[in-house]
């Protein structure tokens, strides 16, 4: 997996809101550390999708990453996550 450097990322508050929307139980909470870790996981998810898209585009000699390239890398991406 590609390492993700410092830079853009998901804010803890956004991650918290994204998760809470889907919780079935009102009492469910997320620890601070878990939120930070989830932010990393989501970042990796996005970066992997992007990088795999790039590799596909390069393999096809495409000039940019379009949905056609993304579609091809999606199945494996979802299996890996």
């Amino acid at each position: 997996m590609e390492g993700a450097g410092a830079g853009a990322g998901f804010r803890k508050e956004l991650v918290s809101r994204l998760l809470h929307v889907h919780f079935k139980d009102d009492k469910t909470k997320v620890s601070g550390d878990a939120l930070q870790l989830m932010a990393e996981l989501l970042k990796i998810f996005v970066v992997e999708a992007a990088v795999r898209g790039v590799r596909q585009a390069q393999a096809e000699d495409a000039i940019l990453v379009d949905v056609d390239q993304l579609e091809k890398v999606l199945p494996q991406l979802l299996l890996d996550f």
């Binding site: 997996m1 390492g3 450097g5 830079g7 853009a8 990322g9 998901f10 804010r11 956004l14 809101r17 994204l18 998760l19 809470h20 929307v21 889907h22 919780f23 079935k24 139980d25 009492k27 469910t28 909470k29 997320v30 620890s31 601070g32 550390d33 878990a34 930070q36 870790l37 989830m38 990393e40 996981l41 989501l42 970042k43 990796i44 998810f45 996005v46 970066v47 999708a49 992007a50 990088v51 898209g53 790039v54 585009a57 390069q58 000039i63 940019l64 990453v65 379009d66 949905v67 390239q69 993304l70 999606l74 299996l79 890996d80 996550f81």
Partner: protein
Amino acid sequence: MEEEAEAEEQQRFSHQQRLKAAVHYTVGCLCEEVALDKEMQFSKQTIAAISELTFRQCENFAKDLEMFARHARRTTINTEDVKLLARRSNSLLKYITDKSEEIAQTNLERKARKKKKSENGNHNSRELAEAGVVESEK
């Protein structure tokens, strides 16, 4: 009260829209970084697709996390639950486990520094203010 239900539905919808917009922004930033690094552009549709995908993936993540915590008879989701999410790929699991240790270490150090400062009496106010600035930047 159909009107109430409709208003509630609309509120939920716009809340979701705002969340999606926030995700879209972050996804855009991350893709921009990758684009610069790999010298390859992304079409707008691709960024939108990744953004939609990420948003939907959060539903799976959230439900799984809640179940994992409940399985362990907890109401608070912790890092162990998150690591369980990353079990499908070995390299992903390793990356997340390493990150988890890094986070724990950083937070431990921050707490130790805070404790040290509060034990330092007079030097308190300026250093605590600095620590406050550092935290709000995160």
